[in-house]
């Protein structure tokens, strides 16, 4: 049985608010590349009026990225999320989600990590209850990707 905490079990994610207008994503990407930061994963949630872009960067790039985005007048926030490591086979992700669902935890959003030198699939999950999720995942020995692993990708 593993014991995860937010420090050991989570990775950092940056969320950015974008207006639903042509060019806003480009502009944001320009700010990030201008800061010399490489994106490891990206997911866009869109509504009819606005979008939320979620980014994963190396741990040592987080503060630099946030500062650059804010300096460019964008609203950006850092959050802790869970990155699951599951075997690359049908049903593997679903089995982990079953554990969370059984504990009454819902998933706000999820996306997959594109860049991985590992055999396994990496999935980023934003559960409704972070602490409880870490407890459930730990007690079921579900492997998680740590911030240190992300930084080494």
């Amino acid at each position: 049985m593993m014991a995860y905490t937010v420090e050991t079990g989570c990775i950092k994610q940056i969320s950015v608010f974008l207006e639903n207008k042509a060019g806003t994503l480009n502009e944001m990407l320009g700010v990030i590349s201008g800061a010399g930061v490489n994106l490891l994963a990206l997911c866009i949630a869109d509504t009819t009026d606005f979008g939320i872009v979620r980014l994963i960067v190396a741990g040592h790039d987080v503060d630099k990225t946030l500062a650059a985005l804010r300096a460019a007048g964008l609203i950006a926030r850092e959050t802790s999320i869970i990155c699951l490591r599951v075997s690359h086979e049908p049903g593997a992700f679903a089995r982990v989600l079953d554990l969370l669902a059984d504990a009454g935890i819902s998933i706000e959003y999820a996306y997959s990590f594109c860049r991985s030198t590992l055999e396994d699939a990496l999935l980023i999950v934003r559960p409704s209850n972070l602490d409880l999720s870490l407890e459930v995942l730990g007690s079921n020995d579900v492997p998680l990707v740590t911030q240190r692993m992300v930084d080494e990708f």
Partner: protein
């Protein structure tokens, strides 16, 4: 048709005499019963006995909309509370509404004013009048209802909204007169066309009385071509009575003021000096027959021009032009008075919400739309769509509850709303109403 020719066609000199006599009575009544106005007259050094006729009107201090807010709800009542049979209301400049109390006699006076307006639109006891103004605190619904009832017409009290049902009743019952806001009338007309309802075949409207919001000659032409009838303007405000304070006749060239019940002035909004007919300025009304909550020299902040030339219809009453603007920043959106300060009050009251905002008013498919652009702050933002939507919903709900109309909330990036050097450009009105 002229409902009360003995009054509506009275020669100007006799009318001024009648107004003077009623003004003297009103000032005495107000001074005796309303502490705020008594104090204001004392401050100005004017006693009721100084007011001997209409020429003394300009000696009297003004009443402001803020007085109705400060004395809310009953501070301006001049009649005992037990004599008040009705309350109507509209929005104030900030949080809570303003209200007006009516005695039985005040309701009758108001009803008579609307009856004259409807009679000018050709309404008789043989007509079927569909009232599609909202019923409630808003004076539109009940005002039109009472006026049509006084004339003995058959009233269909539809209230606002439910367009398909409005048109079904209009067709099935054979409505001949429509009363609602002009923008809603256009919407009804366009929907009727889409449904294949033809004037003269399915619909038999002969006229309509449209008010509660400013409209234009272009809108009149559009309405008249949609329904093939006469579209007439009717003006009023809750503080004075409600709709019917002034109304258009079939000449469609200015609105006749019901001068035996209200005295109209146009003043220079800066100096307060009376301006002659023909010069645009701020409209000021004095009620001279009201007992419940009389208003002496009430500043409307509406800008218009008076015309005292004779009208071909035979009425002698002075005419006021369409409202061509405001001296303050009040907007009329779907017939509801909206002050930007009300919206600002809502925004500063919600934690984490930026007070930087901009209102965008437009008219889409003949219906006014209000969008409120609010700058997002980091406190309002999180990584989930649901939480950002919750912020939007909260702002929209509070605006709806305070202002009374639905607004679309657009969250925009910080500092994206222009900050000008002087007065911030808070309102973008794309409707082109004047």
């Amino acid at each position: 048709m002229i409902y009360q020719p003995e009054i509506e066609c009275m020669d100007r000199e006799s009318m001024r005499e009648l107004q003077g006599k009623r003004l003297v009575e009103t000032v005495a009544w107000e001074y005796a019963n309303v502490p705020l106005y008594r104090a204001r007259m004392d401050e100005a050094g004017v006693k009721p006995q100084d007011i001997k006729g209409i020429d003394d009107l300009s000696k009297l201090p003004f009443t402001e909309k803020t007085d109705l807010r400060d004395e809310f709800p009953f501070g301006l009542l001049a009649a005992p509370r037990s004599e008040i049979v009705r309350i109507q209301g509209s929005s104030g400049t900030t949080g809570h509404p303003i209200v007006a109390g009516y005695t039985r006699g005040d309701v009758a006076v108001w009803q008579q004013m609307v009856a004259r307006a409807m009679s000018a639109a050709g309404v008789t006891k043989d007509d079927i009048v569909q009232v599609a103004y909202g019923y409630g605190l808003f004076t539109g619904g009940l005002g039109a209802h009472q006026g049509a009832t006084e004339l003995g017409a058959m009233v269909i009290p539809m209230s606002a909204g439910n367009t398909q049902r409005q048109l079904m009743m209009m067709k099935e019952l054979g409505t001949t007169v429509l009363c609602c806001t002009p923008s809603y009338a256009i919407y009804l007309g366009e929907t009727a066309r889409e449904m294949g309802l033809k004037p003269g075949v399915d619909l038999h409207l002969k006229s309509g009385c449209f008010g509660a919001e400013p409209w234009t000659e272009e809108m009149r032409q559009k309405l008249e071509s949609l329904f093939e009838f006469d579209a007439l303007d009717i003006y009023g405000l809750t503080e004075i009575a409600g709709p019917g304070v002034a109304f258009e006749c079939m000449e469609k060239h200015g609105m006749h003021v019901n001068e035996d019940h209200v005295i109209v002035e146009v003043i220079d909004p800066k100096t307060g000096e009376q301006l002659p007919a023909g010069t645009p300025g701020e409209l000021v009304f004095t009620t001279i027959t009201k007992k419940g909550q009389p208003m002496i020299r009430y500043r409307t902040h509406d800008i218009c021009t008076l015309d005292d030339s004779p009208c071909a219809c035979g009425r002698s009453a002075i005419r006021m032009s369409r409202i061509t603007g405001r001296t303050d920043d009040m907007l009329v959106i779907r017939g509801v008075n909206v002050f930007p300060s009300q919206i600002e009050g809502v925004l500063v009251g919600i934690e984490g919400v930026s007070p930087h905002y901009q209102l965008e008013v437009d008219r889409v498919n003949s219906t006014d739309t209000l969008a409120v652009n609010v700058e997002l702050t980091e406190d309002m933002f999180s990584d989930t769509v649901s939480s950002v939507e919750a912020v939007r919903r909260k702002i929209a709900e509070q605006i709806k509850s305070v202002v009374g109309i639905s607004a679309k909330i657009n969250l925009v990036p910080p500092k994206s709303i222009p900050r000008s050097e002087g007065k911030a450009k808070r309102v973008i009105d794309k409707r082109n109403l004047h």
